[in-house]
Symmetry: C2
Subunit: 112 residues, 2 copies
DNA sequence: CAAATCGAGTCTACAACGTAGACTATGGCG
DNA sequence: CGCCATAGTCTACGTTGTAGACTCGATTTG
């Protein structure tokens, strides 16, 4: 795992949204979570291309959910973050955290 | 300041590096700080084009320092982060913070 | 049942951001 | 002067972020 390429800003947010949603993470719910929590509105394109690229890098996976009782047979992709995805996310967090350290008092917002 | 466009991942780091360095922030010292704190190595190109773009967006400014005693007359650009730069940075932090909230326990690293 | 609608995902194209490395210019030094 | 070092410029390209029109099956509705 020598040099893990860095995550883009949106990539981070999408990974985080998936983690937040747990087993209910599919395309549009991810977009909703992002808008709700981060005030960030995405188009379909923005969402799915990023998801595809994360998949390509092995940071997320998905399996089809074949519809339950309601939504008879209408499948959707349930996304999960892979172990490598979690690591990449933590690496990004670690770097930012380190760079903020000492500045929090002056410019920061970390309320808790 | 309705919708402040989001900062790229490197843009955030460079802004933070400048804040950390205070009055000693010029091109190469920024690169050094980034490597030191974040383990992120940048080429000249990566550094200055990003700096130029931040300037264009009004997030950083610089003034020439005309050499002191040593370095007689050799000028360098001393960078500072503008008020808008600080806001943009805080906005990014706020979003990430919010997205991480609740996940810290499971996946987080925030040691303190 | 055809038409309108909705939810989920695909595809194409382009703008913005991240990156490298060769190049210029000026000063110090043997 | 020739050479090394520092600070910054320029060109070019790969990666990430973005929009919106399109497909396709299901549900609603007149």
């Amino acid at each position: 795992m020598a040099d893990m390429q860095t995550l883009g800003e949106l990539e981070q947010l999408i990974l985080l949204a998936i983690l937040r949603l747990g087993p209910e993470a599919f395309g549009l719910s991810i977009a909703r979570e992002l808008e709700l929590q981060a005030g960030r509105r995405l188009s379909r394109g923005a969402l799915y291309t990023t998801l595809d690229r994360l998949e390509l890098k092995g940071l997320v996976r998905w399996k089809l959910e074949t519809g339950g009782p309601e939504r008879a047979g209408l499948p959707k992709r349930l996304y999960t973050v892979s172990a490598r995805g979690v690591s990449a996310l933590r690496a990004s967090q670690r770097v930012l955290d380190r760079m903020w350290r000492g500045l929090d008092d002056i410019f920061g917002e970390r309320s808790s």
